[in-house]
Symmetry: C2
DNA sequence: CACTTATAGTTGTAATTGCAACCATTTATC
DNA sequence: GATAAATGGTTGCAATTACAACTATAAGTG
């Protein structure tokens, strides 16, 4: 049945997250921190709220993770001149060096995950997962705002 | 590039997990507990170790989750007559009733996630994700055992 | 303009999560 | 069959995770 799809998505995600957390202990990153460094590096000046929505993580979780990364001098926080409510985030020089490793690991995991799939399948997969992401993130935003789904 | 694939897998998984955790607070389930109830229901007599491998979760996490579910009388633990090391798990009657709700929610989320995909795409997706799962879980087992991946 | 509502960020608290280190069995090896 | 290695399960810790409840700023509305 179709429910296999979401089950496997969950399993793949947990497995990869677990692998990343274990591997990045070598570079003194704690659970989950790699996610934030990657996204901030690729979206310089992003806010905590935007990060939370990008990752589908609670904003308080993002806040704590960022605080820790600032302590560790891997991320820098600056005030937004145009909007005092916002604090913009950048990766430090040290953080940038880590990004290189994160990127390489991600590439490797992608290679492993896609082993045995041909180019056409990969392209289709990319397109379909993007569509699914949009569908699911939409529901996530609603539910986070308090909307009750009926089923 | 291909790295979009794993990013989206992670995002979908986090979003759905977050939704489930929020929705299942109505039935007094705490973070993550729904996973174990579902899998034990579908695999009666499963052990903690098998559960951990099925979900790609650390065995100590499984242990704590199960202890809590036993306290809540949603899961039952029995000794394996043939092997005193193993403790076999079953869902209680109360737990079975919850399973019904979990199943309905999962169906609904699947429907939402797959909106806009046709039957052929869904079938392909199912097959490809199963293959990816196998690839990734294999690496996860190795890394958990201490194997260092080179990249 | 007043003032209400919404938004971004932050802390209090309580729970899960997972590595390390351990016990109890079982399995492998001599 | 004795002893070593492996396996399944369990606790001590230390950290993330996230809901509530809050502050401060910005945006919407009469």
């Amino acid at each position: 049945m179709d429910y296999e799809i979401l089950r496997n998505v969950g399993t793949i995600a947990r497995a990869l997250d677990s692998i990343s957390n274990i591997e990045f202990k070598d570079i003194a990153l704690e659970k989950g921190q790699y996610l934030y460094i990657s996204r901030i590096f690729e979206n310089p000046g992003i806010t905590q709220k935007q990060l939370s929505n990008l990752l589908c993580v609670d904003k308080t979780t993002t806040n704590r993770a960022i605080s820790r990364l600032i302590e560790k001098k891997l991320v820098i926080k600056r005030d937004d001149e145009n909007n005092k409510k916002n604090k913009l985030l950048w990766v430090s020089e040290e953080g940038s060096r880590l990004y290189d490793i994160l990127h390489r690991e991600s590439d490797y995991s992608t290679q492993v995950a896609l082993e045995g799939l041909n180019q056409d399948e990969i392209i289709k997969m990319t397109r379909l997962l993007a569509k699914m992401t949009k569908n699911v993130v939409n529901d996530w935003s609603e539910v986070k705002k308090g909307h009750k789904r009926i089923y």
